[in-house]
Symmetry: C2
Subunit: 312 residues, 2 copies
């Protein structure tokens, strides 16, 4: 394919970071913005990063998708709580035979995306990124950045490593972003949920950082029980996560620096929580396959209560 | 029996209220106090009550059980978090062939009490009381007050209505306290847990009043699911709670005034939570009978985390 053009839908901590890295490496990138549009169209983007700070004084900034050119790759970098906008903003910017790259957490989003576009490949990307937006057009990249890419096919049927995945991987790697390719996007998404469901959920419910959850024996056990329920959810869709993966995740988190999860940050900033994508969709997908996940359902109910009150 | 004498172990919002009512009605009452001892031994007890305020300028106040006379009825009115003291404070004050009346929440406490006294009848009392201690020796009775009494026998075998229960009931009724007698103490305790486990637990975890929990559809459903797990716990000990009882409790709570539960008050006041008596013991008793209660266990783990952090 070569020389892919990129549209970044949602120029925040995640979309702004990856988009800026791609442009810096020489790719054509178009940024959709909302509240930061004025600032960014005049002054560009600033990225402070542990890998080196840089400034892009001039970027292609838009506040309206209909003014954007069609691009080879449309990067969905909104929070999933904004996904009701996708039907309006994705179709105008994606080329025929183009790619929609969904860089979001949770489950079931690719299934929604294929329903709103035709002749388009949908690729899911799981980002391990620690980044904040600290001001308009100003991104602070704290750590990590790796993306696991997997191509979507009907019902998450695994399709192996495709040429399109490799093309995107090449651009991102050129831009200094570590990429892993997975033959099974759904397996990758469940693996990420093993971490995301317990830590995002309990961090909000108990107002806790990851280290607090792991130091207390009761919540450590609860985290583990929740992880085993995610394993059961994966099994309900025919994906096997070995017990050793769960033990690795627990060990990994014990050894991490104390961490405030993304859902906790959203909660503290009074933003809507990604409860449906991260907790509700896995629950519903497991239920559709006749698996009940009682602890995850309990977390879901508690989070829905807190999310609603937080929005009042 | 006639003319029973009473020792009140724990002269707080509950023990102070019932003890004062008994003394006002002419019973001999001895009050064990801790921090309020000086104040109460000099100035007595004040009860502000929706049923009429009254002052007892002179009460039998003690700060040491060994100075108290042996009484016919020893009323355990401490919080269950203080129950490690029972081995020291109950035996010295209870007459041979006397009664220990346990006015505490939760499960399994009578079993502990019979292990520390001989030749004594143990009666459990379930209090439906809304009362606060607003100052030293100063009690504010807001609402309710009814007590359900049931006599304990080995393994909570139901023993029907006994003469001792009737004798206590007579004194309390003379003092203006509504009494219900139950033939099956364990059934009564499980019934109370149908309310106490979901509302006490979730009110602390979600920082919520009863009306907030019932207005939100997600937590309302969670409350109901927790109630059905309590029903399962009761079943594990051979006690049948009909579904209609659960629906009555839900309806009753919807129609109550917004209420801050006793566990939430303890939490807000930085006092230890009665997690073990109210949540841990039911879990362990069900587990010993091979019943698992996953949602109640999840609540327990969350509460243990919060209780520990609250005590730091």
């Amino acid at each position: 394919m070569g020389n892919l053009s990129y549209a970044i839908l949602g120029t925040g901590a995640l979309g702004g970071f990856y988009g800026a890295k791609l442009q810096k490496a020489g790719n054509e990138v178009h940024f959709l913005l909302n509240s930061d549009y004025q600032q960014v169209s005049q002054n560009g983007l600033i990225v402070e990063s542990k890998d080196g700070d840089f400034l892009l004084p001039q970027v292609n900034a838009y506040n309206n998708v209909n003014k954007m050119p069609s691009c080879d790759v449309v990067v969905v970098a909104l929070k999933t709580t904004q996904n009701h906008l996708l039907t309006q903003i994705v179709p105008p910017v994606v080329k025929n035979n183009g790619i929609v790259l969904v860089l979001q957490n949770g489950l079931g989003i690719e299934t929604e995306v294929v329903q709103i576009v035709n002749n388009v490949t949908v690729i899911g990307g799981l980002c391990f990124l620690c980044s904040n937006k600290v001001g308009a057009g100003h991104i602070h990249h704290l750590d990590y950045g790796k993306i696991t890419l997997g191509e979507y096919a009907l019902n998450y049927h695994p399709v192996g490593i495709t040429a399109r995945m490799r093309a995107i991987a090449k651009d991102f790697e050129n831009a200094g972003i570590e990429i892993e390719l997975t033959e099974d996007l759904l397996l990758g998404r469940w693996k990420k949920l093993v971490w995301n469901i317990p830590y995002n959920g309990l961090s909000v419910i108990l107002d806790a950082t990851t280290d607090e959850l792991m130091t207390n024996l009761y919540t450590r056990t609860l985290v583990e029980q929740l992880m085993f329920e995610v394993q059961l959810g994966a099994k309900s869709t025919g994906r096997i996560l070995p017990d050793s993966f769960i033990h690795t995740m627990l060990e990994y988190t014990v050894n991490m620096k104390p961490y405030r999860t993304s859902m906790k940050i959203d909660f503290d900033e009074n933003r809507p929580l990604e409860v449906e994508a991260i907790v509700g969709n896995p629950l519903r997908i497991a239920a559709a396959n006749d698996f009940s996940l009682p602890l995850i359902r309990c977390l879901y109910q508690q989070l829905k209560f807190l999310d609603r009150r937080n929005s009042l």
